[in-house]
Symmetry: C2
Subunit: 379 residues, 2 copies
């Protein structure tokens, strides 16, 4: 396997953007990444596009607007892990020597397409009976409370932290801090989850340009190195049997640590898939960043805040930055690249050398339809 | 690049299958391919799933039913080239050394989801004004008539040939021959195209298991070799400027011939994307199997019939076999494998050594959203 580097990233502002098409969002992010890398767009040999709701051959439509139509484009979909799966396929294509420069991008125009809670699988009987994503994560939260004595107050602290981080990120959807009281007093969604425990509906796009290290050197660019990428799918064990176990996450993390020759103790910051406050806690544990049942106390102690030992979601995460499905994984990559380049401004994690990005999509316990990615980037 | 072989294929019957889910169709095709290869399903290291309409993480849901959930699964979408793109990504993953055994499958349950003509892009203004796929191909047919003096009678002959081939394929949707008179008298869809010039709405699935040659030898299996795989996307030149030029097809074919060290004269049979009768003619020319403007006369002379010099769509093609979007590319692969193994029964192409499969999806002239794949398989 050849060494791979990220030499350019781009990201639109996330939020409700009713006046702009998904194609245009994608175009903006792709061009941001091209300009960031300082390359000629014609050097890009292939592209992978992650999206969920944008309709057939969306990636090709974006590439035509970018102005480099004609190259091989593959649309990939792994629900909330779609963008990170596009990153993974691009990484594979370069690591294995198929191409020297590949564009990975993701975009989602959700407003006008999605109303209310999205479901793991539309035709799933359980989803029709109420097992939407909020319903699913509410069950996991209740179980977590039961097993570890965690509280709604501790969940709310995750939202407070990420909303605070979001105010330091000009591309985040929400630019206002919230208090614990506000979170607890916000509209109930699925007990114990309140509105401010849930990530919003968002429009946005993000992109990254990957090359092999020799190409980076030839171009005179010092890229951010890809330490490892893993993709797992759901197994029975992660479903009904143990609802607070992030099985897919755990397996992906073990694989990626092995690839990078690193362990959780080496991770300086992580962008994790906080689609709900409870999700961030479960993922911190699944990634091995702490023991099971310990995450709520870590958040309370400030360990995961900016300035803490292991800042989680310095970008604001899905809760504050927003969650345009296909864009999310690549927005995480963009954040890590900015952090590792020391370009993250007022939310900079000091001395960051190893960053982790985690996405997890789909998965109803009974159908095992889920995908999880973990990406390690290093200085 | 390592040499890659197809060691197992599977395919459900294509047709209207209202009582069965997309997941179950996928499961059947995957298991057919596993049994055909004679492997243990647990040896499969990763999977690529091609589909268009089956909703998020469909591939993962199928794999859970196959019984090998947990491995990396990537859903890919390139409209009518989705299945062949899944094949391409699986081929890449093995050719480049990432994995030794990968499952590529595609499935589509269209009944209940699609009514009437599908459009290149739902939100496209031109599509809303009538530029559905039948509208688009009707324009191309008129232009072809104008440029080369071809006739509706010659178009009808494509349908007659493929419907006849379909009667020799027990998995084909249509099992009845049609006459030129029936085609010409069938309901007008978009002049000059009649109902029997158009492929149907279908449900179905197909799958293939790919390994590197060393693995095939270790398993004691003599697979069908992958000679080359190419993926292109649309460029402006292929759109408005020259409507009878299959630009994406031409570029993909040139690439794949170069990979295989072969030319169009070496091709013994081809499965091409005959979504409409006119499409088969345009593709035969785009693939270099004859000169531009010559295909209609070739069909009339029986050159593309079973027993002719270069049989096109011996399986019945999309017109007779059916076209469950994501399954089509892999059904073409299955047909080539059976033909090259001399297992095609009464539709066997004698002495077939090199087979070509061609898919093309999407593409409105004005938006360039299109994807095209060409695959070469050899004995």
């Amino acid at each position: 396997m050849r060494k791979v580097e990220v030499i350019g990233v781009g990201m639109t502002t996330f939020g409700k953007q009713t006046d702009i098409t998904g194609e245009e969002l994608g175009r903006q992010a792709c061009w941001d990444s091209i300009l960031d890398a300082g390359i000629n767009a014609r050097q890009i040999q292939a592209a992978y596009c992650g999206h969920v709701l944008q309709g057939p051959v969306f990636g090709q439509r974006v590439m035509a607007k970018v102005g480099i139509a004609g190259i091989p484009v593959t649309n990939v979909e792994n629900y909330c892990s779609s963008g990170s799966t596009a990153f993974r396929e691009a990484w594979l294509a370069i690591a294995t020597g198929q191409y020297d420069m590949v564009l990975a991008f993701g975009a989602e125009k959700m407003t006008g397409k999605v109303r209310g809670a999205i479901t793991p699988a539309e035709e799933d009987l359980e989803a029709q009976l109420g097992l939407t994503f909020p319903g699913l994560y509410a069950m996991r939260a209740r179980r977590y409370f039961e097993e570890y004595g965690a509280t709604p107050y501790q969940l709310a602290l995750v939202s407070v932290k990420n909303r605070k981080n979001g105010t330091l990120n000009p591309r985040a959807q929400y630019q206002r801090e919230v208090t614990v009281e506000e979170v607890l007093a916000s509209r109930p969604i699925a007990a114990p989850l309140k509105l401010l425990d849930c990530c919003p509906i968002s429009d946005g796009a993000a992109a990254a340009i990957l090359v092999n290290s020799r190409t980076a050197r030839r171009l005179g660019i010092r890229g951010i190195k890809v330490g490892g990428v893993a993709l797992t799918s759901g197994q029975l064990e992660g479903g009904y049997i143990d609802m607070t176990n992030e099985d897919m996450t755990r397996r992906a993390a073990m694989e990626v640590y092995a690839q990078a020759g690193a362990g959780p103790a080496d991770v300086d910051l992580a962008e994790v898939h906080d689609c709900f406050t409870i999700a961030e806690l479960l993922r911190i544990e699944g990634l091995g960043l702490c023991e099971r049942g310990e995450a709520a106390r870590l958040v309370e102690a400030g360990v995961t805040s900016l300035g803490g030992r292991i800042p989680i979601n310095p970008s604001g995460g899905l809760l504050a930055k927003g969650h345009p499905l296909g864009a999310t994984g690549l927005a995480q990559v963009a954040e890590l690249v900015w952090q590792l380049r020391c370009q993250a401004g007022s939310r900079q994690v000091e001395g960051a050398r190893l960053g982790l990005a985690h996405c997890r999509g789909g998965s109803v316990p009974s159908s095992e339809g889920g995908a999880c990615t973990v990406i390690l980037l290093k200085k």
